[in-house]
């Protein structure tokens, strides 16, 4: 059973392991540098559905089906499913998983949801409550735009700090087994609000949360950057990434070789018109479940500190002049026990 250390950090002692994982994405993501890594790329991002919300739901449905098929388990074997997304009332998850006969816990952590759901799913397995759990999230460019910003066909210019919501979903099945990748420890972050009010600069709003969660994780697990091959943030994008690196530089750590951000990995920022990079729950979910977990499973890399970041605002609060509260959760995923 897991043991609580301090400051939101929990060490998982029964070696919960990621049995299988799957990532499905849209065309823009398929055209990006990781295009070949995903389980399926949808050229038609409606996925044959009449509304964008249902298209996103379908992404989750397919991601979970693929993850179950790859792990050779049926839905009756999954004891709990933890899922969430960006849409109001988390409808992409609610509608996406309504056909499954799996006990469901809906989560909201904005773009940090992949880490949040992975943490919950791992703790449930680690504490012997469940034998199989699933963690999943998604985002869709078109459903996010209409909820948070402007109509798709509205002619406007984005600021260079804006990020592009990833169309994609990632799902992972957790169980106890002696095969990697293992979830070793987790840190549940605190909400941080540094007063940033610009909803078109979310990377800047979230950098401090990532900085504090990573620092807390290292301090409470008595590890250092040397113990990890990769520090992987969720969707800080270009601005948030540069800020995070400078924050650590002030502490005397050079993160340039060790850190990467899913929002920078999923698109080619020079060729694709995505401004400061990718964002959305699907960003870290598809990069983790499409690319990183594969590398951990194959032993290409050993230790990853996955730190997904979320901007916890709504259009209403931004219009009321409020700043953006942010959060980051960290998960240490390892190829060894």
């Amino acid at each position: 059973m897991g043991s609580f250390i301090e400051n939101g950090t929990i060490r998982l002692n029964n070696n919960p392991s990621i049995l299988s994982f799957a990532a499905v994405v849209g065309k823009t993501e398929g055209d990006g540098p990781l295009g070949n890594e995903f389980d399926e790329v949808f050229e038609d991002i409606t996925l044959g559905e009449k509304t964008w919300e249902k298209s996103e739901s379908r992404l989750q449905e397919i991601a979970l089906q693929k993850a179950m098929a790859k792990g050779e388990i049926s839905e009756s074997q999954i004891d709990f499913l933890f899922a969430g997304d960006l849409l109001n009332q988390c409808v992409a998850s609610n509608y996406g998983v309504r056909s499954f006969e799996i006990p469901f816990v809906g989560l909201f952590g904005a773009c940090s949801t992949m880490a949040e759901s992975l943490i919950m799913a791992s703790i449930f397995v680690d504490s012997n409550i469940a034998t199989h759990t699933a963690a999943m999230t998604s985002s869709h460019y078109c459903s996010a735009e209409r909820q948070f910003r402007l109509p798709l066909n509205y002619g406007g210019q984005r600021t260079p700090t804006a990020q592009w919501t990833v169309t994609g979903s990632g799902a992972a099945i957790i169980t106890t087994q002696d095969k990697p990748p293992f979830v070793r420890s987790v840190t549940i972050g605190k909400i941080r609000d540094m007063g940033i009010k610009d909803a078109a600069n979310m990377g800047a709003a979230m950098a401090q949360a990532a900085y504090e969660t990573i620092s807390t994780h290292l301090a409470s697990t008595s590890t250092s950057f040397d113990d990890y091959d990769l520090i992987l943030t969720g969707d800080l994008g270009m601005i948030g990434t540069n800020m995070l690196r400078e924050l650590f530089q002030r502490d005397g750590f050079d993160l340039n070789d060790k850190h990467n951000d899913c929002g920078l990995m999923i698109y080619d920022l020079n060729k694709q018109d995505v401004h400061a990079g990718g964002s959305g729950c699907g960003c870290s979910a598809s990069v983790l479940c499409g690319h990183i977990l594969k590398q951990l499973k194959d032993g290409a890399i050993n230790d990853v500190l996955f730190c997904a970041t979320g901007a916890l605002m709504s259009p209403t609060m931004i219009q009321q002049g409020e700043s953006i509260p942010s959060i980051a959760h960290a998960v240490h995923i390892s190829a060894t026990i």
Partner: protein, 147 residues
């Protein structure tokens, strides 16, 4: 290391690139200018049918609005506007795009609660404050002309 909100804001500003103002202005001038040239050509075109200058102007507005609505539906207008910026926003075509794009977008919530109700989410404020300004202007004109 502890950081204050003010220091953090400075850090954010330092790493946030500004818009490329000069390039954007040139693009806006060229694309916005092009729309106006099309408008002027349309005026001459209608005048060649012996329409008065005023009627030609009205027909040109109608034509530009139609073309903008059509190009919005064909997903062309927003692609041009990505480069055009204010050049595609300011002419009448920009206003048409601002009405048609939410109408299309929110059609999925039905013709009443979706299409019709959301049609003015972008353009509504322009209409409200445009009318309010016109009202004030009308009163001022009245005062200075008749009193």
């Amino acid at each position: 290391m502890k950081i204050t909100n003010k220091e953090y804001d400075e850090l954010a500003k330092k790493h946030s690139p500004n818009s490329k103002t000069i390039i954007n202005m040139i693009k806006a001038f060229v694309i916005g200018g092009l729309i106006c040239v099309i408008g002027q050509a349309l005026i001459y075109f209608y005048m060649s049918f012996d329409l008065s200058k005023q009627d030609s102007g009205t027909m040109t507005s109608i034509t530009l609005i139609f073309l903008s609505a059509l190009l919005t539906g064909l997903e062309v207008y927003d692609r041009v506007a990505r480069h055009g910026g204010a050049g595609t926003l300011v002419p009448i075509t920009g206003f048409a795009n601002a009405v048609v794009s939410p109408a299309l977008e929110f059609k999925s919530e039905g013709h009443i609660a979706g299409l019709a109700a959301k049609m003015f989410v972008v353009a509504g404020p322009v209409i409200v404050y445009g009318l309010a300004a016109a009202f004030v202007y009308g009163i001022l004109v009245y005062i200075f002309t008749y009193l």
